[in-house]
């Protein structure tokens, strides 16, 4: 009986130590901070996702056609330069003949 008492007392003191730890202000503050951090990071992820979507579609509409067209213009210029140099050569041919 004494052993049971002792165990119960020890158990009560064990549970009370655990309860003391879990109900202490530091632990509760830590839990609150963790849930706040999770909430904020979720919101941050969502708003970053939204911002990335808006930036991505705006970039697609404004900048991608520009890059494509400038590239084509450059290709066209190079082709013209090539053709000009090609056409520049023949007049000397018949002159030689």
């Amino acid at each position: 009986m004494a052993a049971q008492h002792k165990r119960r007392a020890e158990g009560r003191s064990d549970s009370s130590i655990l309860a003391k730890i879990t109900s202490s202000p530091i632990v509760s503050r830590g839990k609150q901070a963790a849930s706040d951090a999770a909430f904020v990071s979720k919101k941050l992820l969502r708003s970053t996702g939204k911002a990335a979507w808006i930036a991505g579609t705006t970039f697609l509409i404004l900048v991608v056609p520009l890059i494509i067209e400038m590239d084509r213009e450059q290709q066209f210029n190079e082709l013209e330069l090539q053709q000009a140099s090609l056409l520049g050569a023949p007049p000397t041919g018949p002159a030689h003949k």
Partner: protein
């Protein structure tokens, strides 16, 4: 510009006299100012860059010239059209129509008419009576009652000023005047009176242009202040910005855009402070054959409009 003071006859070295002569040339001759551009085209460069005609759906235009002066045009357009609604939702209804048009263009006389399959008729007349006097008329007739309107404009062009008088249906009277003040700056004003809505207004405008840039400003007593600035960065590229503020309804809109005129295409893009970006591409596939792509994304209202088309002739 006529030289004001003839170069001095004293013995000066040739290069100094040349610089003296050019300095005198740069002194403005206030009697020989250039004619300003018409009042309604004040914002022309900014509008061309920042407000292309975006559309949604398919657009096909075919213009055939029968004569040197006369041409016919056929146009098919299919796509959703927005219906103005009270709620925040945009309601779009698919519509399609065919438009037939005839144009007669002469150095002195220009006649343009368009008929649509939904019963609308547009007509425009521009007649140069003399070198300085021009009469313009504009009419839009529809099937719905009280939605038709017409307007007459009488323009007088002086040596360095332009004036215009407007008459419209619904007792609309307007007049505007613009004057060149220096070779780069022109100032103007307008008044109008709308009898049907019992509204009248007065506005002032200024335009400063050089070879590389154009800056315009406009103020009206309807509460609108509109400023715009266009910079020509090179002969292919120009950038434009626009700022519009309504001091009565506290509405502000600013937009920035670019205009690339390349040999094979013309690309215009703009982004707005209302979260709206548009882009308009006209690509030349062949002689007389143009391919058009138009995109408009409104992030705030989540409204996306994309269109494509072909223009022949």
């Amino acid at each position: 510009m006529a030289g004001i003071v003839p170069p001095g006859t004293t013995a000066v070295p040739a290069d100094v006299s040349h610089t003296a002569h050019t300095k005198h040339d740069e002194k403005t001759d206030y009697m020989n100012l250039p004619c300003p551009i018409p009042y309604e085209e004040l914002h022309r460069e900014a509008l061309m860059s920042l407000k292309p005609e975006t559309f949604e759906g398919l657009r096909f235009d075919f213009t055939k010239g029968l004569n040197q002066k006369f041409s016919l045009s056929h146009s098919v357009s299919m796509g959703p059209t927005e219906i103005p609604s009270q709620s925040a939702e945009t309601i779009k209804i698919p519509t399609s129509h065919y438009e037939f048009g005839a144009n007669f263009i002469d150095p002195n006389l220009m006649l343009i008419g368009r008929v649509l399959t939904d019963g609308r008729l547009n007509a425009r007349v521009k007649w140069d009576l003399t070198d300085n006097l021009t009469v313009k008329a504009n009419a839009q007739l529809t099937n719905e009652p009280h939605m038709s309107h017409g307007m007459f404009n009488f323009d007088y062009k002086g040596k360095d000023f332009r004036s215009q008088f407007q008459l419209g249906n619904g007792a609309l009277f307007g007049a505007n005047y613009i004057q060149s003040v220096t070779p780069n700056l022109s100032l103007g004003g307008e008044v109008f009176w709308a009898g049907q809505h019992r509204k009248s207004g007065i506005g002032y405008a200024a335009r400063y242009e050089t070879d590389k840039m154009v800056a315009t400003g406009q103020v009206a007593n309807t509460g609108i202040v509109a400023l715009s600035y266009v910079q020509k960065v090179s002969d292919k590229v120009s950038l434009a910005t626009d700022f519009m503020y309504n001091y009565l309804s506290r509405d502000v809109t600013a937009s920035v855009g670019y205009d690339y005129i390349l040999r094979q295409c013309r690309l215009r893009g703009k982004i707005d402070s209302n979260g709206c970006t548009t882009s308009y591409l006209e690509e030349r596939l062949n002689m007389g054959l143009n391919f058009i792509l138009s995109a408009e994304i409104d992030h705030r209202k989540k409204d996306y409009k994309f269109g494509f088309g072909l223009t022949v002739g």
